[in-house]
């Protein structure tokens, strides 16, 4: 009883069950079997890959906004840099052809380097200035990517981005009887899940580590923290570069999953705000919250929105020319209202971090231990 609980640490029963479900789902897509029976098709595993990738992106933003308290409004730029780097490093028309695994290494490095270049002169500025600097950076990155048409192929995007290389045996195992398309889907599913789990584990530890403590101190009282010898500029830069790197890795996955780097306009301000929405809805600074937010937002976008549109069109009538009849057009009213409502009613988010509680328990343990030692 004790050993298993201890080894799992603060990964609770819920996390274990969720992980088991996610690991097994592609092999036994029960939900889809059920829906197939009634003639509907959702393909939950396909949605889940997107949620994993978006969750990674939300976690990346969480380092910057949640941990370091930097209001970053241009996370999509680093996501785009990761995706484009992956495209340049893998497509056939360029000589690099590093493949997925190589670009999984290069994309975060490129994103982090650009993050450092942007962060070093600007992170010492007031918080609100950083918001406008990152917002501007997001816009400029998008426009530069469109303008560098020789490199990025402009609006067409670089493609095809090859799928990750795996040994034939593993590939055949994943492919099963489903054919190559199924094989690729499962490959992406498990790679994305692996990276997401790794990120969750690393961040859970980070929150308990020295660096995590420094983040909290800095958010609570920057001046007092610096008078204790912490270097705010350095710690913020670390968070900024780290977030950029993870966003770059997410971009690499995104491009590979999509098999194209997509149009640069995809990575616009709205995209950055959607990621911020994930954090606000889930709970700023909360790992689980970020992933929950990603699931809710993508769920809304890909599942709820089409359903409501069908309903709307049945009620209002009106064809494609009625702007009110497509629920996609309502999306930003919904997201905007969600932001306003969350800030007013539940600023800590739907699934706030339980850090303080667990911290309390732990510190008491240590106090007792050291008293015993005395």
């Amino acid at each position: 009883m004790t050993t298993i609980r201890q080894k799992l640490g603060n990964f609770g029963t819920f996390e274990v069950l969720a992980l088991t479900f996610l690991l097994l789902y592609p092999l036994f897509p029960v939900l889809d079997w059920g829906l197939d029976a009634v003639g509907q098709s959702v393909r939950l595993d396909r949605q889940l890959v997107n949620i994993f990738i978006f969750g990674l992106l939300a976690l990346a933003l969480n380092i910057q906004v949640g941990y370091a308290g930097l209001l970053q409004l241009g996370i999509a730029a680093f996501f785009a840099i990761g995706a484009i780097t992956t495209g340049v490093m893998t497509v056939e028309k360029y000589p690099f052809q590093f493949g997925f695994w190589g670009s999984l290494l290069v994309a975060p490095i490129a994103a982090a380097a650009i993050g450092l270049f942007l962060g070093a002169p600007t992170l010492r500025l007031r918080g609100d200035y950083l918001a406008i600097v990152t917002l501007g950076f997001g816009e400029v990155t998008r426009i530069v990517l469109i303008n560098l048409e020789n490199i990025t192929d402009g609006p067409r995007g670089l493609n095809p981005v090859p799928e990750p290389w795996l040994p034939v045996a593993v590939r055949e195992l994943l492919q099963g009887s489903g054919g190559p398309v199924e094989g690729t889907l499962k490959t992406m599913y498990y790679i994305a899940l692996l990276l997401l789990v790794a990120a969750v584990v690393v961040f859970t530890v980070l929150e308990k580590s020295r660096l995590g403590r420094a983040f909290v101190a800095l958010r609570e009282d920057e001046l007092a923290a610096s008078c204790m010898g912490l270097d705010p500029a350095r710690i913020k830069l670390l968070a900024f570069a780290g977030g950029a790197a993870l966003a770059g890795a997410a971009g690499c996955l995104y491009a590979t999953n999509l098999t194209t780097t997509a149009e640069p306009n995809t990575y616009d301000f709205n995209y950055s705000i959607m990621v911020l929405c994930c954090l606000i809805i889930g709970g700023i600074g909360s790992i689980r919250g970020a992933i929950l937010g990603a699931a809710l937002l993508l769920g809304f976008d890909n599942v709820v929105s089409p359903l409501v549109t069908r309903g709307l069109q049945a009620v209002i009538g009106g064809g494609s020319d009625n702007v009110l009849a497509s629920f996609t057009n309502w999306k930003w009213i919904v997201f905007g209202s969600a932001l306003v409502a969350m800030m007013r009613l539940r600023p800590e988010g739907l699934w706030p971090e339980a850090r303080l509680q667990s911290e309390l328990r732990e510190a008491k343990d240590i106090a007792e231990q050291s008293q015993e030692a005395l």
């Binding site: 360029y94 420094a214 008078c227 106090a367």
Partner: protein, 476 residues
């Protein structure tokens, strides 16, 4: 003016030496030409009526305010960071990087890419060729571009076609002919050449300008940012000056223990070389992962398909195993490597010792916001001591304390002195000040009016006048 202080000047070098410190905000002079010395191992105090500039003085010492004029020295050293060779190199490097970036922007990154990477066949890519193409592109020489399956020699900006050929070699010959023609100078055989030559000359000037201006801006900008950071609260704290605050500034949502641990942070990291065991484990595993990713990449590119399977499988296995090893280690929750864990436990026991010293060890697990007022003041002292300071600045430590608490506080400050930490405090509680100080400085309206032992200060007519005067003002 302060004959007593000057006459008794001891032979030991002062730990803190402030000379002619002036602090001005707009029209308001908060501190004006103040001299102050603190000897190692003593308890010094600054007193004065409200608004005398005491806290401003502390803020100037700890780097929160930049002094308008005057110097603050710690252990005989100026506390302003000097420009070291490494920093100079860093600034020059930043300048170089920005210069190159500006050059690339002026020359057109897009064109550079077309001239170096895109015109080559990806299967027979040659880095040397790309480099030489790149250099001639940056020099605004004519270049070769691949267009619609053919190869064209074009002017440096890609605007004027100079000839088309089915192979790259032919196109290169065409380009070289034009380049030679351009080099020879007028009269030009080709009517397009004068136009190209003029445009290229302008482009070269623009590119040089961009390089130089970019480099200057980059170096100057990095230097400006560094200049603003020469003396910050962080750098002062790291020199060995710790402080408490008049209005308590604890990390309220952290536990008592964590408050102290945060202050130990720099001893947990910056005293360690990067190859120390606590970092080595993490570095080792990360490098294993990276190495395998590199092998995996290389193997999928350069090898025959059959070998890729073997090498790649091993590499993938290695990647998965090392990732798993890292995750397992990380999964131990408190640290990224076993040595990190040891260090953390050492820090925790030290922190508990400090908490015991101020009498808060029983409350280590409580949130600091839940402590009573007097305990919060003592926690701030423990937190400041955790930075292992040479000099401890206490800003009104007895404020809001009842008589028995302030007696305990006096005892605590004497014990801090006993640990070899020099103390400089601001205090209104005369009983506390007179009871523990070795030397007292009196500030009124930002000026120093007296300095001496408690006995001398008690009997100094100026001090009495200043205090009674302000009292009378306050009540009148």
């Amino acid at each position: 003016m302060t004959s007593a202080g000057q006459a008794a000047a001891p032979s030991v070098a002062p730990l803190l030496q402030i000379e002619q410190l002036t602090l001005r905000f707009g029209g308001l002079t908060a501190v004006s030409a103040v001299d102050l010395q603190v000897q190692p191992g003593e308890i010094a105090a600054v007193i004065g009526p409200n608004g005398a500039g005491k806290t401003s003085l502390f803020n100037a010492i700890t780097g929160i305010y930049e002094p308008t004029s005057g110097t603050v020295r710690l252990g005989g050293q100026d506390m302003v960071a000097r420009l070291t060779g490494a920093q100079l190199a860093q600034q020059l490097l930043a300048g170089l990087a920005l210069g190159v970036l500006a050059l690339l922007m002026a020359a057109g990154l897009d064109g550079l890419w077309a001239a170096t990477i895109k015109q080559q066949n990806p299967q027979e890519f040659s880095i040397a060729q790309a480099l030489s193409d790149g250099i001639s592109y940056l020099q605004a020489q004519p270049r070769v571009e691949a267009r619609m399956g053919r190869f064209m020699a074009v002017s440096f900006d890609g605007q004027i076609p100079l000839g088309s050929a089915p192979t790259r070699e032919k196109a290169q010959q065409l380009r070289d002919d034009v380049a030679r023609g351009l080099e020879k100078g007028p009269p030009y055989a080709n009517p397009q050449l004068p136009q190209i030559a003029a445009a290229a000359a302008t482009a070269r000037i623009v590119r040089w300008l961009a390089l130089v201006v970019g480099a200057l801006l980059g170096a100057a900008g990095t230097h400006a940012v560094w200049r603003r950071q020469r003396r910050t609260p962080t750098s002062v704290a790291r020199l060995g000056v710790a402080r408490t605050f008049q209005n308590i500034r604890l990390f309220h949502n952290m536990t008592v223990l964590e408050n102290v641990l945060v202050a130990m942070d720099r001893h947990l990291s910056h005293s360690l070389p990067w190859w120390h065991a606590s970092r080595r484990g993490l570095f080792l595993q990360l490098s294993v992962i990276i190495a395998f990713l590199v092998v995996l990449t290389a193997s999928t590119r350069a090898m025959p398909a059959a070998d890729v399977g073997v090498v790649g499988s091993f590499a993938l296995l290695g990647f998965l195993l090392s990732s798993a090893a890292l995750l397992v280690q990380v999964g131990r929750r408190k640290a990224f490597s076993p040595a990190d864990l040891q260090l953390e436990q050492l820090a925790r026991s030290k922190a508990m010792e400090l908490l015991a010293f101020v009498g808060l060890d029983a409350r280590a697990g409580d949130l600091s916001r839940n402590l009573p007022y007097g305990d919060q003041r003592r926690l701030e002292i423990a937190r400041a001591l955790a930075t292992e300071p040479r000099l401890l600045l206490l800003d009104e430590p007895a404020a809001g304390m009842n008589p028995s608490e302030s007696v305990a506080l006096m005892q605590l400050i004497r014990q801090i002195k006993g640990r070899g930490v020099t103390v400089l405090l601001i205090e209104h509680h005369m009983r506390v000040v007179m009871g523990i100080s070795d030397r007292i400085t009196v500030l009124v309206h930002g000026k120093r009016i007296a300095e001496g032992t408690p006995e001398e200060i008690r009997n100094n007519p100026k001090v009495i006048e200043a205090y009674l005067g302000t009292e009378a003002d306050a009540h009148g």
